[in-house]
Chain length 370, copies 2
DNA sequence: CTGAAAGCGCTTACAG
DNA sequence: CTGAAAGCGCTTACAG
């Protein structure tokens, strides 16, 4: 792995690279000077810097994370979290992941400060972000509302070199360190594959319920679905696409209404919320089990629907892990400049009824946080 | 969280518990003495120890992991890994997870030493475990062959207080720190649910191919499957259960033979290996796609079968994560005595064809290691 | 039985 | 521009 065996040192069987101390000895300077060179700090003669950098490269020097992490306890890192729609159970799962990461990293000099709000008001989001900056955060993770005021604010943070992570929802102009969340297009394709697997070869009249046509992720879940259906599952026949605004009552009446005109309905695909409402409508018409239901995110009511056999399957996107990784990724970046990939995509987990059956010791394991 | 606010100290917004240094000041002793009391070391007056322990409890003292982790670089930790069947692609995935963890923890004073072997010879496994002990490992993870010589050896290690993790396969007498792997019974149930979802209501004559009746995990996958089928999916009719010894050639001929007697076959459930062989037999009879195939573990050939539509779905058990967690769990235990649960159960991930479709940025994300 | 020192690898504030 | 010291929290020799 490391190229210059000569400079490796072994301790109790462990092969180590060299430390700043050893590098200092090699270069004949103090450790402070090594630090100045390696970390681009001012107050060092250019030729000394060059020499040290060369030496570091030659010997494969890599900064040791344990040293930095301990050091951070002396001048701790503060990161801010901003989340909209705080009553949404999905975001509560994301939040649980964030809190777990905060606990895990507390010993390593990290602390986390929160701002949450109900709903999706971009002005309020901007205000809370500014509050976090005022509080002195070194980095920020938020579920951005992709509108102009928010984008402008994020551009400002980019200028100040404050790293920002877009969590669960991306911003369209990409002024952020990275995106962590679902690939919505792909998840739509998975949903199609799943419904394809659960149906056919007889025709399957299908209703699509999306949350809002204004939301990119929802649209991508619809188009990913349609694309795959067209390519592989011709028996799935989309009769209509309706917006339910993630609302159960609206979802209920849309399904009822649809059934009036299309009694042959055999599948409902929900790209966003309103799952329980749709299930209620099917139950009201005695169609539970006869009509396949595929949806996203396994929380609360949805889990209950799955256990009751009212849902065929759900596709989950590792919400806790999204939250955990947001904190961890920011921490690593702030610790030693580790650059994450542009997008960190979480899995599309297909959850069926049997996942919810509790076997001996299983439940805890299946629901563990990253 | 911490109860005694009075003794908390704040630094840059971070709320910290107290350190050994502060505890030493409070107790009016040196840090060495604090260490002796807290870590049960000899050479300390009983009443001093008692006083310090009381004080630590009162102030909610918790040892800081960053301190310990850095310290480990001075006298590094060595853990041993023993794996059988080294050519098995499944174990290579586990291995990749172990190697990732080893890289992640190298900065924190961990190094890993390996012994692997072909096949499943318990005498050879015992020998390699002894070699690792000779090499001075502080802990051990292995895929144990659950036979008497191995169990006896593990009992010996338990007596020496060397922590051992059973990876992917448990030992029946439980002489180990913890088990990390699949819940085979549950995974059999998931397989049944999946096949149930992909079939019915017409009868589905089904062939079960298991690896070996000698292997507990395989038997559990069969019984979990049968149990759930009986309870929920009566149209799934098991015509036969045959052993293919994880062998593709045998698997091929068993399916061919079965089809001779049971041309109405509509599903094959593979509880272990030999997937490609079974698929080849179905293809030879022109039954690809007409006969549902559900199997475990997505590697190499199996992944290809899935992409080609020769498999309906596979159930994966996070092999990389199993390996990663084995190392991490041992490390945490050796670092500060963190006790893992008795069993750490990895997920049963249902993988369908659309998971393998590569979307823009998806592939890397879906296959990331923990 | 107890304490003072040194060290793991890093960074910062201070003195020159 | 550079170095020596102190410190993050822990543990281990060593001296008494």
């Amino acid at each position: 792995m490391l190229e210059h065996e000569a400079t490796l040192c072994r301790k109790g069987g462990l092969i180590l690279g060299l430390s700043m101390r050893q590098l200092a000895e090699l270069a004949g300077v103090s450790r402070g000077t090594i630090d100045r060179a390696l970390n681009d700090r001012p107050g060092i003669a250019p030729e000394v810097r060059a020499k040290i950098l060369q030496l570091a490269q030659d010997h494969g020097y890599r900064s040791n994370r344990a040293g930095r992490m301990l050091r951070l306890n002396k001048s701790p890192l503060l990161i801010g979290i901003q989340m909209p729609a705080r009553n949404n159970p999905f975001f509560q799962a994301v939040r649980a992941g964030i809190e777990q990461a905060a606990r895990d990293l507390a010993d390593f000099g990290l602390s986390v400060v929160w701002r949450t709000m109900p709903g999706y008001d971009s002005a309020a989001q901007v205000r809370q972000v500014q509050e976090l900056i005022q509080a002195g955060v070194h980095g920020l993770a938020l579920v951005p509302i992709d509108q102009e005021p928010v984008r402008r604010e994020l551009a400002g943070l980019a200028a100040q070199e404050i790293p920002v992570i877009a969590l669960n929802n991306d911003v369209s102009d990409g002024r952020r360190l990275c995106y962590i969340g679902n690939d919505y297009l792909h998840s739509g394709r998975i949903a199609a594959g799943l419904l394809g697997l659960a149906t056919g070869p007889d025709p399957v009249p299908t209703l699509i319920l999306t949350g809002s046509n204004q939301i990119l992720g929802h649209n991508q879940r619809v188009s990913g679905f349609r694309e795959t259906v067209a390519a592989r599952y011709p028996w799935i026949q989309v009769e209509a696409v309706r917006e339910n605004l993630d609302d159960d009552a609206l979802s209920f009446s849309l399904v009822m209404e649809h059934l009036d005109g299309h009694p042959e309905l055999r599948a409902v695909y929900l790209a966003a919320g309103g799952v329980a409402g749709a299930c209620r409508a099917l139950a009201a018409r005695g169609l539970t089990g006869r009509v396949r239901v595929v949806c996203f995110d396994l929380l609360d009511e949805t889990a209950r629907c799955l256990r009751d056999g009212r849902i065929t399957a759900a596709i989950s996107q590792e919400p806790e892990r999204q939250g955990y990784l947001a904190v961890k990724t920011l921490y690593d970046y702030l610790l030693d400049g580790t650059r994450p990939p542009d997008r960190i995509i979480t899995k599309n987990e297909i959850i069926i009824r049997e996942h919810e059956d509790v076997s001996e010791h299983t439940a805890a394991g299946q629901r563990r946080i990253p």
